[in-house]
């Protein structure tokens, strides 16, 4: 496959995307290289590894990672693979340690990745092994943004700050609305859906359209409010990120004790407004969104969830999903958020169950040779983008728009066709743009 062929697969100006990018192994291999080995990927939340020696497992694409705090207290991320024969040096999902001892031949690495122990160094290697060259393989860049840990394998990638760009404005809505920020509830929902990872990223980046139908049972049962999902706007934030949600909350209604989370936000509304500013506080709950490529969130009345869609082959993703709470919330509010999250989301959640059904059946229905010739329609709201004063990004007139998906696939195409980061447009006027206005 030649990289110029990707232009036939994604046509943003006309709102067309080929099914091939959800199915074909060759395209998937390109993605692992050009997207997952280059972009800033979400690894973990700082609250998971508070002390030196704490570690937690993660993935970057299909590569297993160890994220840990070194003896100096710095966050580090390494490939979880021994430099000798490639064995996984850590087989726990989280914990605390001084060192990782490889179970195969016993090479031992400290939490700064340094090779500190090699059996038979004297009578096997005759002291000629250059230990300093064989430490754990470390990411090229690692940075945090308000508790969120990201890393990239590409030394040429723009800084995390530039990469997130205007998305930071929306991330603050979730993790910086109150003093102390956020923390994650222990445990991770992990499950597998037989569908390409982009189905999920695309769904979260801008698809409110599916909610009344896919999650019709949630509306019928009164779990999802038709009013909440019908107002607001979608945003193509730039750099492939997107977000959608309500434009103005009726904050007074949040004083109802029936929802402890909303009541907690209501009681803290002055602090929230002070931290975020009047205009931003009005769109407080950020709705749904994706940080390119595979880190998504849902911030709605009752709970907040973060999730990563790990690629596992062209037709398979592994989902890791967390429940996130305000650190300063009282225990009973945190518990109610936890319960609300798991009742509706995760593999057992009554809302999320139906997403997996759609994505897996889309995959089966598009595998055939003939179906792959016909483009998918991403034209909703095409040419109708608008700028809202004070709101970063290109926005849609109503919540029903695929502007977010078009921004996502624009960035996907740019990266797939760009040999280096310097060939990618990472800022300026046209970034995050939709098609020219009508």
């Amino acid at each position: 496959m030649h990289e110029q062929e990707f232009h036939q697969l994604v046509n943003i100006e006309q709102g067309l995307v080929s099914p091939r990018i959800f199915i074909e192994p060759e395209i998937y291999e390109w993605e692992l290289e050009r997207i997952f080995a280059r972009c800033w990927l979400y690894l973990a939340h700082e609250s998971q590894i508070p002390e030196p020696g704490d570690y937690v497992a993660a993935f970057m694409g299909e590569d297993p990672m160890i994220v840990c705090r070194d003896p100096q207290g710095h966050i580090r991320a390494f490939l979880n693979s021994c430099t000798h024969r490639g064995m996984r040096v850590c087989r726990e999902e989280a914990g605390h340690t001084k060192a990782f001892r490889c179970p195969y031949h016993g090479w031992t690495f400290d939490t700064a990745g340094k090779l500190i122990g090699v059996p038979r160094l004297n009578d096997g290697y005759f002291r000629q092994l250059e230990k300093e060259k064989w430490g754990l393989i470390e990411v090229a860049q690692l940075a945090t943004y308000k508790g969120l840990i990201f890393a990239s394998w590409d030394p040429e990638a723009p800084s995390l700050d530039d990469y997130l760009g205007d998305m930071k404005w929306y991330i603050d809505l979730m993790v910086d609305r109150l003093e102390g920020g956020s923390e994650v509830i222990g445990g991770v929902h992990k499950w597998v859906i037989p569908a390409n990872w982009k189905f999920a990223a695309d769904n979260f980046v801008g698809d409110m359209y599916h909610v009344p139908v896919s999650h019709g049972s949630g509306l019928a049962l009164g779990l999802i409010s038709e009013r909440d999902i019908s107002r607001g706007f979608q945003v193509s934030v730039g750099n492939g990120h997107g977000r959608g949600g309500a434009d103005q909350w009726d904050v007074e209604s949040w004083s109802d004790p029936a929802s402890p989370h909303l009541k907690f936000l209501y009681e803290n509304r002055e602090e929230i407004t002070h931290r975020l500013g009047q205009q931003r506080a009005q769109i407080l709950l950020a709705g749904h969104g994706t940080i390119f490529p595979n880190f998504s969130f849902l911030d709605i009345p009752g709970f907040l969830t973060f999730r990563v869609w790990h690629p596992r082959g062209p037709e398979r993703m592994e989902i890791w999903s967390w429940c996130v709470v305000e650190k300063k919330a009282p225990p009973e509010v945190k518990n109610m958020m936890r319960l609300a999250y798991l009742a509706q989301f995760g593999p057992g959640g009554v809302v999320e169950q139906d997403d997996g059904e759609n994505w897996s059946q889309c995959t089966l229905a598009m595998r055939g040779r003939v179906r792959r010739r016909y483009m998918l329609n991403y034209q909703m709201g095409l040419g109708r983008q608008q700028v809202r004063p004070g709101i970063p990004g290109q926005t849609s007139p109503t919540i029903w728009s695929e502007i977010g998906q078009r921004g996502f696939y624009r960035r996907w195409l740019e990266l797939m066709t760009a040999p280096r980061w310097s060939d990618v447009n990472t800022g300026g006027e046209s970034n995050g743009r939709d098609e020219s206005p009508v």
């Binding site: 509830i185 991770v188 499950w191 597998v192 049972s217 798991l342 009554v350 169950q353 139906d354 997996g356």
Partner: protein
């Protein structure tokens, strides 16, 4: 009550319950639960395991109201994950009565649940259940169920079924 009787009562209850689930007679299944039932499937992964009860994630942490909601959902016409319905087979074995009185049985059992869906979708769930059965008006009812899956990463696209 003697041990043989307790074993018999426990087995009869669990087998009949499994049959109701496989025949999708969910309303009748709900009648087998006490009003204060706790239906709980903690996450099986290592992180968070050992955290105090109620402080880490579960796949299910239901009471009778939320279970009723799950069943009601199936009738909304929008429960796509179960429309058309899955075919399930609950195989319950290794039933051990851990403790018993006239009014209460503590029972552990192993399970394999097979789910077939549409044409070729197949899932297998394996684990153990720890149940408390309580006698209410002369009838055994399920008062608590803790479901321990032996899977860490769930190999299925959802858990739209009951265990």
């Amino acid at each position: 009550m003697d041990e043989m009787r307790a074993q018999f009562e426990a087995e009869r209850f669990l087998y009949r319950e499994a049959k109701l689930l496989d025949e999708r007679r969910f309303e009748e299944w709900l009648d087998l639960l006490t009003d204060d039932v706790r239906y709980w499937m903690p996450v099986g992964n290592l992180e968070g395991a050992g955290a105090p009860d109620g402080q880490h994630l579960s796949y299910f942490e239901d009471n009778k109201q939320t279970l009723m909601l799950r069943i009601k959902r199936l009738g909304t016409g929008f429960a796509h994950a179960e429309d058309p319905p899955s075919r399930t087979r609950h195989l319950i074995s290794n039933i051990v009565v851990e403790a018993f009185t006239e009014a209460e049985l503590k029972v552990s059992a192993n399970f394999i649940v097979f789910r077939g869906r549409l044409e070729t979708e197949e899932d297998l769930f394996v684990g153990r259940r720890e149940d408390v059965l309580r006698k209410v008006d002369g009838q055994w009812k399920l008062a608590a169920r803790k479901i321990l899956l032996d899977h860490n990463v769930i190999g299925a696209k959802n858990l739209s079924l009951f265990f």
